[in-house]
C-alpha cells in the first residue's frame, strides 16, 4: 500500500498484546502523516 494513503487520515491504533502493541502502530502511523486519535492494546489471553 502506498504510504501516502495514511497522510492526514485519522487513525485508531488497535494493538494486540502478543502481536504488535498499539503504541508501536501509532508511532508508525505518525511517521507517515496519520493523525492518531486513539491507541489501545488488547489482551486475549
Amino acid at each position: 500500500m502506498d504510504k501516502s494513503f495514511f497522510a492526514n487520515k485519522k487513525i485508531c491504533a488497535l494493538g494486540d498484546r502478543d502481536g504488535i502493541p498499539g503504541p508501536a502502530i501509532a508511532e508508525c502511523m505518525k511517521t507517515v502523516g496519520g493523525e492518531v486519535l486513539f491507541t489501545s492494546t488488547e489482551c486475549f489471553v
Binding site: G19, S40, T41, C43, F44
Partner: protein, 516 residues
C-alpha cells in the same frame, strides 16, 4: 554463593462449564448487550463434559501425566483425539465443578457459600475419598441448606447460583448489602481463586510429602483483589490460602503484576531464601472465573468445543539449597525496564537477551525457554496466534541477529528450545510457571541443563500506564557443590585483600600522575 532451589511444583485444574456460562466476562457482557444473539443460543452445544476435559491432551500435560513434547505425537485438533483420561496426575488433579463447590464451601470462613442439603453429603463423600482434607474441614459440608431458601436468595439477587446444568445446587451470598467490593460477584470470584489456590497447595504438600508447617512465607500471584469498599485490593489471599492448606507457621503477601506476577514472585521468593530471611517460601495462585469462555465467541463460530472451561492453579516451593534440587540463578535476572519500549523485539531484548549477555551466555546456551505457554488450540482460532511459538520465533530471531544461528535454522531453534503451549488462558497461570514441574524432572534427569522462565504482563489493561512488563529467571541443574560458611568467609577475606591491593595500586598511579 548458595543459590536457592525449587523443591517441588504442583498444577491443578477444575472444569467449570457452569461458572463459564454464568461468570465469564465475555458471556456476561453478551447477555447484557445481545441476550438473543446466535452465539448465546448456540454455545450450549459446544460446552464440554468433565470427561471430555479430562481426556484432553493439554490438560493431561498440565497435571503431569504427559510431557509437553508428547503433544507432538497427538494428532490435531487435540480435542478430537482424546488421550487416557486420568483425573490424578504427577503434579495435581482435574477436579469436577460440583466437587469444587464443596471446596469453595470449605474455604469459606463467613458462611457465604450455601450448598443444598441434598448435594452437600454427596460432595462430602467425594472429597473425603481424596484423603486430602481434615475431618474438621469436611465437617463444614455437614450442614446443607433448603434449596427453596437458596433459590429465594438467587431470585432476590443477593446471591449467585452454583449450578450443575440447569439444576441449582447452592449459592454464594453477598458479604455486604451495599459494598460493591463485597458483592456476591466479587466474593464468588475471590472464593474460586482461593479454593483453586488451596487445591494447588494441598497437592504440592501431599504429593511431595512436604509438611506445610515448614513454610515460612507465601506469595500469592493471582489477578484478583481482596478487600472492601475502603481498600479494594487490601489482601491477603496468600495468608487466607495458607490457613486452609495448613501452613501454620507462615505469613504471606499478595503480589500483583498481571500475567507477570508469578515470575516476579519467583524472583522475590528466591531473594527471600537466598538472603536467609526465610527458609521455605511458597509461590502460588488459584485461577479466575472472569476469563472462562473469554474467546468462546470465536470457538462457537469455528464450531469447536469451548475450551476455556478450566479454572487452574499452581504452587511452587522455593527453599534453601539442598545440593540436589534445581537452583534459581539469582545472578541472571532479566527485566523489562520502564525505558525498554513495548515493541516485541525490545521486550525480548530486555527480558531475554540482556541478562544473558551480562552473564557471558549465548541465547543458545539456554536449553529451554518457557515464555507464556497458552494452549494454541485456544488462541489460534480466536485470532490471537500461537503465543509461545511467536515468542520462540522472536528469541530465535535475536539469536540470528547476534550470529548465533543461521536464519535457515530459525524454525529448528523454536523446536529445540521450545515446547508447545498447553496451559489454559487464565492470565497469570500460563505465564512461564506451568513448566516448572516438567522442568524439575528434566533437569534432574539430565535432559536439560538450563531453563529460562519468562513472565510478561499487560500493565496497560489497568489504565494507569501504557507500559508493558516482564521479568525472567533461569533454573539450572544443581552442581551439588555447596558453599560453606567458612568458604564464604574466606571468599569475603580474599575480596577485601583484592580491594586493598587495587586501592593501593590506584593510589600509586594517582601519585605518579601528580608528580608526587
Amino acid at each position: 554463593m548458595n543459590f536457592p532451589v525449587i523443591k517441588a511444583a504442583a498444577n491443578i485444574l477444575v472444569q467449570c462449564p457452569n461458572m463459564m456460562m454464568e461468570h465469564g466476562t465475555t458471556l456476561i457482557q453478551e447477555k447484557a448487550k445481545n441476550p438473543d444473539s446466535e452465539y448465546l443460543k448456540s454455545i450450549g452445544q459446544f460446552v464440554r463434559s468433565y470427561e471430555e476435559s479430562v481426556a484432553y491432551a493439554p490438560n493431561q500435560v498440565f497435571i503431569g501425566n504427559m510431557k509437553p513434547s508428547d503433544l507432538n505425537n497427538v494428532a490435531g485438533p487435540w480435542y478430537s483425539h482424546p488421550v487416557e483420561p486420568k483425573t490424578d496426575g504427577r503434579f495435581g488433579e482435574i477436579m469436577s465443578e460440583v466437587d469444587f463447590y464443596g471446596l469453595m464451601k470449605m474455604c469459606d470462613r463467613f458462611e457465604l457459600v450455601e450448598l443444598s442439603s441434598e448435594i452437600a453429603p454427596v460432595i462430602k463423600k467425594a472429597l473425603q475419598s481424596k484423603e486430602m482434607f481434615s475431618e474438621a474441614q469436611l465437617a463444614m459440608l455437614d450442614k446443607g441448606a433448603d434449596i427453596a431458601e437458596i433459590q429465594a436468595l438467587v431470585d432476590k439477587h443477593t446471591a449467585l447460583g452454583l449450578y450443575d446444568g440447569d439444576k441449582l445446587l447452592g449459592c454464594v451470598r453477598e458479604a455486604h448489602e451495599s459494598d460493591p467490593n463485597l458483592s456476591a460477584h466479587v466474593v464468588f470470584e475471590n472464593l474460586v481463586t482461593k479454593a483453586s489456590g488451596v487445591l494447588a497447595m494441598k497437592h504440592l504438600f501431599i504429593k511431595n510429602k512436604i509438611d506445610p508447617a515448614i513454610v515460612d512465607y507465601i506469595i500469592e500471584t493471582s489477578e484478583e483483589a481482596v478487600g472492601d469498599m475502603n481498600q479494594r485490593g487490601g489482601g491477603n489471599m496468600a495468608k487466607a490460602c495458607g490457613e486452609v492448606a495448613g501452613c501454620i507457621n507462615a505469613t504471606g503477601i499478595d503480589l500483583r503484576g498481571f500475567c507477570a506476577g508469578p515470575a516476579h514472585a519467583m524472583v522475590n521468593a528466591a531473594a527471600l531464601v537466598q538472603s536467609g530471611i526465610f527458609k521455605n517460601v511458597v509461590v502460588m495462585a488459584g485461577g479466575c472465573t472472569a476469563k472462562l469462555g473469554m474467546n468462546s465467541r470465536d470457538h462457537v463460530n469455528k464450531q469447536m468445543p469451548v475450551l476455556e472451561d478450566m479454572v487452574a492453579g499452581y504452587a511452587v516451593l522455593v527453599s534453601e539449597n539442598d545440593g540436589v534440587s534445581p537452583v534459581i540463578r539469582t545472578d541472571i535476572i532479566g527485566r523489562h525496564k520502564i525505558s525498554s519500549g513495548s515493541a516485541p523485539q525490545a521486550v525480548i531484548q530486555a527480558i531475554v537477551v540482556d541478562p544473558l549477555i551480562a552473564s557471558n551466555l549465548k541465547i543458545t546456551d539456554v536449553d529451554l525457554y518457557s515464555p507464556e505457554l497458552q494452549n494454541p488450540e485456544i488462541t489460534v482460532p480466536a485470532g490471537a496466534g500461537d503465543v509461545p511459538l511467536a515468542n520462540y520465533k522472536m528469541i530465535g530471531a535475536m539469536a540470528v541477529k547476534r550470529g548465533e544461528i543461521e536464519k535457515k535454522d530459525l524454525m529448528d531453534f523454536t523446536k529445540k528450545h521450545g515446547v508447545s503451549g498447553f496451559a489454559p488462558t487464565q492470565g497469570h497461570i500460563p505465564s512461564g510457571v506451568p513448566i516448572i514441574g516438567h522442568a524439575l524432572l528434566a533437569l534432574q534427569a539430565g535432559a536439560i541443563e538450563k531453563l529460562m522462565v519468562i513472565g510478561k504482563g499487560s500493565l496497560f489493561l489497568g489504565r494507569m500506564t501504557d507500559l508493558f512488563d516482564g521479568i525472567s529467571f533461569i533454573i539450572e541443574k544443581n552442581s551439588g557443590k555447596l558453599e560453606s560458611d567458612d568458604d564464604a568467609a574466606a571468599s569475603d577475606e580474599f575480596k577485601q585483600e583484592l580491594r586493598e591491593l587495587i586501592a593501593d595500586a590506584m593510589q600509586k598511579v594517582a601519585d605518579s600522575l601528580a608528580g608526587r
